[in-house]
Symmetry: C2
Subunit: 640 residues, 2 copies
């Protein structure tokens, strides 16, 4: 992490200098603003992930309202997949989740013992995160803590952003005839002044207001989908048991009593159980059945026989029915009008797609939604891109949500089906295990791949980097920084700061002053057609829009730092200090060679253009300056 570029300041470097414009400077209870750039509804994972990203830009006024009086304390989701952990790294709190959370290392499959079907037996075990699928663990932690980490990022950001609790979005209208804060939002107080309303005008509104979203309703969205008419209980408990795998993720299928999913939790004692309860009748809702926590505990004990659970404290519990539902689009522009106008209102997370909790996707996908939207809003509001960019949010995320609902659906079907004979005799690999393995990349959040578009290039040059697929997330790998010989993950240079990144991988023997990387760097720094030259605002740091990094095939002791192109050693900030963290070498301490690990063409090298949300936009030859210029010309606009 970098700091002090504008001069030394004591204390916690995560606390950024406050921008003079921040509303909270006067008082935490400063009155609501009349107008904002962005109004976010809801402080769930989707809303907070967006707010944390926008909080870094003092030139954008953002407000986030929440109907509840405060953050939640327990319950709801708890699974953080590896992809989300990679994103947390960019927000600066992955280390905290790693330290505090439970790590899912193994998933165990328990099924009726073929010798005695009244007893369950462990029949399989799978490593939960495949080697080198991500540098991050699959972590489990209370959703409330994730909220707190985002809230801390917001509080520490220049805007000192905080939610306005006790305000609910009641309704909104869009006036498509103006560009000046066209969305009028009616907020209603849910606190001490309950019922009091207040009108705020916004340039953009993002509904992160959960499954019953008022924002969705206001733009005419409807959740479609199906329900499996199956009740499940979920509980977070402190309990003792003679079940030996209680600190590992377990999928348990009994012969006649149904299924249980065990998810160990943070702190070493707590764990979660998803327990299959009764089938529901076609017209029956789970709420009408009056299930109790005791029903869930009793069912769990039946399913897990001969083992038993002795519950000491029920921390949280709930019952739900399996269902998957989503809306037709994630913004306010019907397909028929896409060519004519740009979106003003968006929905994200549960507001536009809901999932079966057991697959552990809801919270992850919700955050990935707004991580996709955040930089696009920032680009438009900071004058870096045309507002038509905002169409790509619904396009990209709707397709992903659809894929997720389909996979999720398949998984739930398999989980709820009675085990077939073939999987009990130990002959076949059980269907469970097979499907689970197939799904690992998917449940890790790593299978997301955006289709070719103005944001995502073709696979024309994919052969130059076979392990870094265009449209998928940039897959980190170990490197060593040239200036200080530090081992680190290349992907960790990406912060959630709305910047683009170009990783230039040097060809063989590159490192001299006359090489493809040098020529690319010099072109980027000086040529009139270079996106760095064209799109960087005068007076801003040269890497403020596009952050250029070099990766060499040599080890750190084989390269000369003073021979590096000047774009890889730029001066920055108020004091004009030199940045020494742009050049990387291969790891020399046994963690692996990034060129081999990611299939980078050693002879030619290549450049990989990565979006602010960590997805790969382009893989190009080092000399493809025309393609590079054309790509950015299709997205960015010149500063005024």
């Amino acid at each position: 992490m970098q700091f002090y570029v504008d001069g030394f300041r004591g204390g916690n470097p995560d606390i950024k200098n406050a921008a003079p414009t921040n509303r909270r400077e006067y008082s935490t209870n400063a009155p609501l603003p009349e107008k904002v750039d962005v109004l976010i509804a809801g402080t769930g994972p989707a809303g907070l992930c967006l707010a944390a990203q926008l909080a870094k830009f003092p030139e954008i006024s953002t407000m986030i309202v929440e109907a509840s009086p405060e953050n939640i304390e327990r319950g709801k989701a708890d699974g953080i997949n590896t992809r989300t952990m990679e994103m947390f790294e960019a927000f600066g709190f992955a280390d905290k989740v790693k330290r505090e959370g439970y790590w899912v290392n193994q998933t165990n499959f328990w099924m009726p013992d073929p010798q005695d079907r009244t007893r369950i037996k462990r029949l399989g075990r799978v490593q939960d995160v495949a080697d080198d699928s991500s540098e991050m663990p699959h972590a489990i932690i209370n959703q409330a803590r994730i909220h707190e980490f985002f809230l801390e990022v917001m509080r520490n950001a220049p805007t000192r952003m905080q939610p306005d609790y006790n305000w609910s979005v009641q309704s909104l209208t869009v006036d498509n005839s103006t560009e000046d804060h066209p969305v009028t939002v009616v907020l209603v107080n849910t606190g001490v002044n309950a019922g009091q309303t207040k009108t705020v005008r916004a340039n953009y509104v993002v509904g992160c207001d959960g499954a019953r979203s008022n924002v969705r309703k206001a733009i005419g969205g409807e959740l479609h989908g199906d329900a499996a008419h199956q009740a499940w209980g979920v509980m977070d408990i402190l309990a003792n048991t003679d079940f030996p795998d209680i600190r590992q993720k377990c999928l348990i299928t009994s012969a006649t009593e149904g299924n249980v999913l065990i998810i160990p939790r943070e702190g070493g004692y707590l764990f979660r159980m998803y327990v299959e309860l009764d089938k529901l009748k076609d017209d029956e809702r789970v709420a009408n059945r009056n299930f109790t926590a005791q029903d869930t505990i009793a069912a769990a004990n039946r399913i897990m026989a001969p083992y038993s659970i002795d519950v000491k404290e029920v921390v949280w519990w709930s019952v739900y029915e399996i269902g998957h539902r989503m809306t037709d689009r994630f913004d306010d522009v019907p397909d028929s009008e896409r060519a004519n106008r740009n979106p003003r209102v968006f929905t994200a997370g549960d507001a536009c797609h809901t999932h079966s909790p057991k697959a552990g996707q809801g919270m992850n996908v919700s955050m990935q939604d707004t991580f996709n939207l955040g930089w696009k809003l920032a680009h438009v509001l900071r004058g870096q891109a045309d507002a038509s960019l905002l169409h790509t949010y619904s396009q990209e995320r709707w397709l992903e949500a659809k894929r997720l609902v389909e996979t999720d659906h398949e998984w739930a079907r398999i989980m709820s089906a009675p085990p077939g004979e073939s999987e009990l005799d130990g002959g076949d690999e059980p269907r469970f295990v097979r499907q689970f393995k197939l799904n690992l990349e998917f449940t890790g959040g790593l299978a997301v791949k955006y289709d070719q578009s103005r944001l995502t290039g073709s696979n024309q040059y994919q052969a130059l980097a076979t392990g870094e697929e265009v449209g998928r997330r940039f897959h980190s790998a170990p490197v060593v920084r040239l200036s200080d010989a530090k081992q680190l993950q290349l992907g960790h240079v990406a912060e959630a700061d709305g910047r683009w990144r170009i990783y230039a991988f040097a060809g063989e023997n590159d490192g001299s002053t006359d090489s493809a990387i040098h020529r690319l760097a010099d072109w980027l720094e000086q040529d009139a057609n270079s996106p760095v030259v064209k799109y960087t605002r005068e007076g801003d740091d040269i890497d403020s829009v596009i952050d250029f990094r070099g990766v060499f095939q040599q080890t750190f002791d084989e390269l000369e730092y003073d021979k590096m192109p000047s774009l890889l050693r730029p001066t920055k900030g108020k004091l004009g200090l030199q940045d020494h963290e742009k050049v990387f070498c291969v790891d020399h301490k046994g963690l692996g060679d990034i060129f081999t690990m990611r299939g980078i063409n050693r002879e030619q090298g290549c450049m990989i253009v990565v979006r602010p949300d960590q997805y790969i936009a382009q893989v190009l030859p080092l000399k493809a300056t025309d393609e590079l210029a054309a790509f950015f010309d299709g997205i960015l606009v010149q500063p005024e």
Copy 2:
């Protein structure tokens, strides 16, 4: 990290439940107490490390006073050696230092270019932390931040401890005729009520009040030592340079202009330089020479020619002269009286030994002093040990300080000596480099070895664990936890909580229910002579005094958890919840086999008894229950 053993509680798990007795519960400005168990003078690294440790024990009343009005903001020490990082792990903030600090990976040696002695040239490079010497990096970070991390541990502890700023220890007297708070301390206010005095009575006083310690003076201590009559300048600067190794630690020797030491700092831009200034006359003090920051910058530029430094901001600077001084003992008991009375007053850190800053030892040794003292004070004050234990503090730490002063002295001599011809022709390895390599273990803080005593066993069974030497710190290695297959460092199970640890390494094929580890565990749990049985207070957790852990030679999938002895699966806390984190296996993912790495006898296994400050007290065969009982009988006393 473990939490929720007494039931769920939302929010940050590092914030412990407040004890009802804590003074700050009423108000941050609660009046000073009349009597305390421990009064600590000074909030430098030594004082804060002690306070952070005692803060965890609500039954001990501790106060820490500081003459200054608040924490420092910049300057002073910045090097955290690997041993100190290991200790920070036990306090829970090593991750923060790792994330925020600079890592010293390589040290470079620059000397006059043999071809042209007016220019410096890089003549050597050494990996700064030898492979597997510690799992921790050598980190560099502002001393003020270390203070803040300790202050946070204190604030979050049950006692909610905070320093009483603006109170200086003026004098103290010890009444050896009473056991009831025999030390009377006169505090004088240095804030708004400047000059006001206040008397506090304490059972123990620890002078962590720096080189001019009043506490030391009060117990008749005097610093003896020598000075090299050589002035050095030190500055923390934001600067640009064409010197290519500016982000690596560098020792630079010029032909005629003297030496410079470069220490890169946190944040990517800041760095520190130690710059050799003039020789002082015999009776001259550095303060009388009126050196300026500009003098130091100018000298640095002369030494580093042909490279130059363009300083943009001087964050902090100082001049000093090299010197090494220490007192004859670190407590108030002269040798002649050791047999008759126990110490009541201690000194730690700079109060009893000062060093040349460049070796980067002062801050580290100061904290190691009080980490040694902290658990001993806690043992005595909580009735776990007899007060004679407190003699061992001065015994152990005085010898270490002496060794440090000697090494430090040698190093300073070499650093200040003009380079001999033999090291300039590139033939020999320069003296610098040779000595630096020899010193690495020492400067890492890893060479500390306490002599045989009631706390430190003999080397009789050392062959059972050749890589875990009795008297030295327990050297961590990778393991996998059986219950959840998590990879971790065995040493990281040790928290700064005043508990002893026994790591039982299983012999070959151990893992069945009839094995040496099982017999040891059962003896520990049940036998009347077992230290666990004898010294654990009724109603306390069975691991509250001695934390027993098992390490097996199998991988996690080869062992059955339900076959483990019950002491390795104890129930704990208010709810009687089972602890699943006591059993470890060898790493199966390529990080190495702990038995091989630490030379553990595979056939017999062994047990390693580790003190609360992470030093190895005993290496014993698994069946040596008599020796184990005798060892603890020599230290612990039975609870009343």
